[in-house]
Symmetry: C2
Subunit: 140 residues, 2 copies
């Protein structure tokens, strides 16, 4: 698998862990270092693996399970780092879509594979949904 | 100036350009490549230097000038990349604070200095303002 495909696979594992509310699978997605950072929609930044995983535990234990249709995926390889942007099209269970979130993911290359060091999600306001969609940037 | 100080100086130039609504100064902050990406609060992602600068031109030409008190600055050096998180405490002109935005910045090292390739800002909901503040992560 080439780097780009490996990064996309790691990005997919993030969403499968999120949908399954599987804390162990989610921890395997992350680098699990003090450099981990997470900014959930509406939240202050959360720093460090322990706090990041605590936040996921909280999210997984409340509310309804969410499903994600991931669109507008843009991958940029930057040596041992990879940046992914995508849009989360979210619904609760099998219900209607409840909103869209613009995401930045930053992965770092580890001997064991690409690991997440940043998740930053921000709600897309309904009135902005007609703005131009993602296109693939050139690699540096 | 060491890398960390140079990154913080580049981050500060971003906010001075933003406050001054100075499009030329803002363009000097960015890498100005197709890899540039910007996610403003509530927006879809915007990709590529041309679209990113068009978006800034739009922001600078409407509404009231904003002032930024930047807090909770966290810098992480990752080789030729640097990640900055901070919180923008925003007010219009000399008025009262109007809100806080959690930010991810990604800078890339160029011969001319550190240049911005990503700005991602997301509003912090008022009810979340009591959550723990930033602490410095360990370097990788």
């Amino acid at each position: 698998m080439d780097d780009r495909a490996a990064v996309i696979a790691a990005n997919d594992r993030f969403y499968r862990a999120f949908e399954a509310r599987d804390l162990e699978a989610m921890s395997r997605v992350w680098s699990c270092t003090d450099g981990d950072a997470c900014i959930h929609p509406g939240w202050e930044p959360v720093y460090g693996s322990e706090a990041v995983m605590e936040a996921w535990a909280g999210i997984f234990s409340t509310g309804m399970p969410m499903k994600f249709l991931v669109s507008d995926v843009v991958v940029q390889l930057l040596g041992d780092l990879a940046r992914v942007h995508n849009v989360e099209n979210i619904r609760f269970g099998d219900g209607e879509p409840i909103g869209r979130v613009a995401v930045t993911h930053l992965f770092i290359r580890r001997p064991s594979g690409w690991r997440l060091v940043l998740h930053h999600g921000s709600p897309i306001a309904a009135e902005n949904e007609a703005t131009p969609r993602a296109r693939e940037p050139e690699y540096h």
